[in-house]
Symmetry: C2
Subunit: 352 residues, 2 copies
Amino acid sequence: MAEKFKHISESHLKGYIKNVLLTVGLPENDSDIVAGLMSDADMIGSDAHGVFRLPQYVKRLIAGGINKIPNIVIEKEKNSMAVINGDNGMGHLVMERAANIAVKKAKENGVAWVGANSSNHAGPASLYARIPLKNDMIGIYVAVGSSNHVPPWGGKDMLLSTNPIAITVPSNERPPIILDMATTVAAYGKVKEKLQRKEEMPVGWMIDKQGMPLTDPSKSNEGFLLPIGEAKGYGLALMFGILAGTLNGAAFGKAVVDFNADATSFTNTGHFIIAIDIAAFIDVSLFKNNIDEVWSQMKGSALLPGFDEIRLPGERSHKIYQDRKVNGVPIHSNLKNALDNISNELNIQKIF
Amino acid sequence: MAEKFKHISESHLKGYIKNVLLTVGLPENDSDIVAGLMSDADMIGSDAHGVFRLPQYVKRLIAGGINKIPNIVIEKEKNSMAVINGDNGMGHLVMERAANIAVKKAKENGVAWVGANSSNHAGPASLYARIPLKNDMIGIYVAVGSSNHVPPWGGKDMLLSTNPIAITVPSNERPPIILDMATTVAAYGKVKEKLQRKEEMPVGWMIDKQGMPLTDPSKSNEGFLLPIGEAKGYGLALMFGILAGTLNGAAFGKAVVDFNADATSFTNTGHFIIAIDIAAFIDVSLFKNNIDEVWSQMKGSALLPGFDEIRLPGERSHKIYQDRKVNGVPIHSNLKNALDNISNELNIQKIF
């Protein structure tokens, strides 16, 4: 059997992505920011949201579906909020800007909520919620997903996306607690990953139009993703869509463009980020020690039959990050082929 | 078969609750506020969070577990946030105050986040998220539940509660969209309701310590509630507990007192509310029309086999409210017996 994965270093990965973006026409500084965030996504184990997405980004950048040189501006602003117009730029640039504005406003006012419209797919939710974290803040990020794969509960018209949420909480000696989850049982990126790897999906991820389990990822367009907790996950996806989309004047419901199938239409993607300055609420050291204590309580729970440990949200990701710092990021042979197509098209050096 | 339910009017219900609270020793104005919110809970169909809870409140008020005359104060404050110390008063008083502060701060600053510690059980989550709604704002409310019924995923130590969330969104001609959900498949109030009505629970609500389904509500203390989406619901319950508890200096994890079993210990219950002033983000009429459009899109979806309609969050509650305005609130015979015990103890008129 052929070796399916090859490992490359973070800096090598970032360098390759940056070179692609520069060649396509992004400015130097923007290429650097996006390549950094995309390689961060791979480093923290969000394999379906890092370099994996580069082929589609490149297709949209070349076809004009994403603006290479956007004029990202603040459209609305008060002490504790802003709405950013991303001018159809890369979502990474829009949300990095939004997160930094949220941090600044939270430092002054305690809490800040910054929404964005006219943005694009920005990678994994936790990337942006991690920015407040670096400032002793709690971060919350929510996005309207970049294509609809979920009907309202009981229906079969795909009007909702996986609309994910990330929440980050700093700790003292323990790793930070970082929740990053779709409101569906599986994120759609996981389905794409199964397809690329030619693996079956577990029962419970998707159903078909008769409501029966769908496990072949090549037939994913014949069915829907299932929300967590049935009607509850539908309710969360709906509300997150309204908060990240409708409230910001961004797309939601039928207006959402399938970013995976379409290289040219304006997606008007919406997201929001909240930064919460812990110091405004409670002594920061006390809070972080209390989070260490929460961590210890959870880890210390007796186990149900069939489980060998309790995990905290973000723990797996933290271990992957430490592993990849040493051993590099695994690139699947099918992903390598997709990246080689880009390199050939742009006439630049291959990733390896 | 005996008639199990009798219907009484909203004003009659509120009058009875107010009389009980006054007799126990709450001030006139506080009794009026709490009785109003509790009867509101019954009117919107939160049957497990309205008058149903009165016996336990009375027990705690008499035993000193809840402070009858609290000095509720703002402990921390910046432009867009506050932390309220509830002085161990009724949770309804604390969160009504918190919601009004959030609305005022959001009007000035765009968005406001108000947390509370030293509070108590306050009824259904949506009660407080509905206060911003009346001001053309979006409301978000989260609480640490009043007893732990959920282990971390894979464990069997009950360290988490059902930690619910409510999100309210105003519309134009349609009813507002109001999500009010526990992060567990079933809220614990639903289990208590099944017990009082001597009904079995469906499979999927609870498991026992071997991980097997538990359906007898009289054995609920031998098992746990299941989180929605397995580890995802655990992650949400954990994060909501940190945001509503730890961040406010309120109880979370092992520190949570089982309010149902204990009539005297200080619970230090935590909650928070967010008010989002829609006008800061987008034209309010446009937004409300867009929410009507979201409503129509969801309702218009083709149906999966086995479903006869799509429901929006809050739609069922809205219909119950309209029905109860006309027909009154149904009081189960077992609940009537529990309330009669209070009436006898306090030597006041029975509910009917």
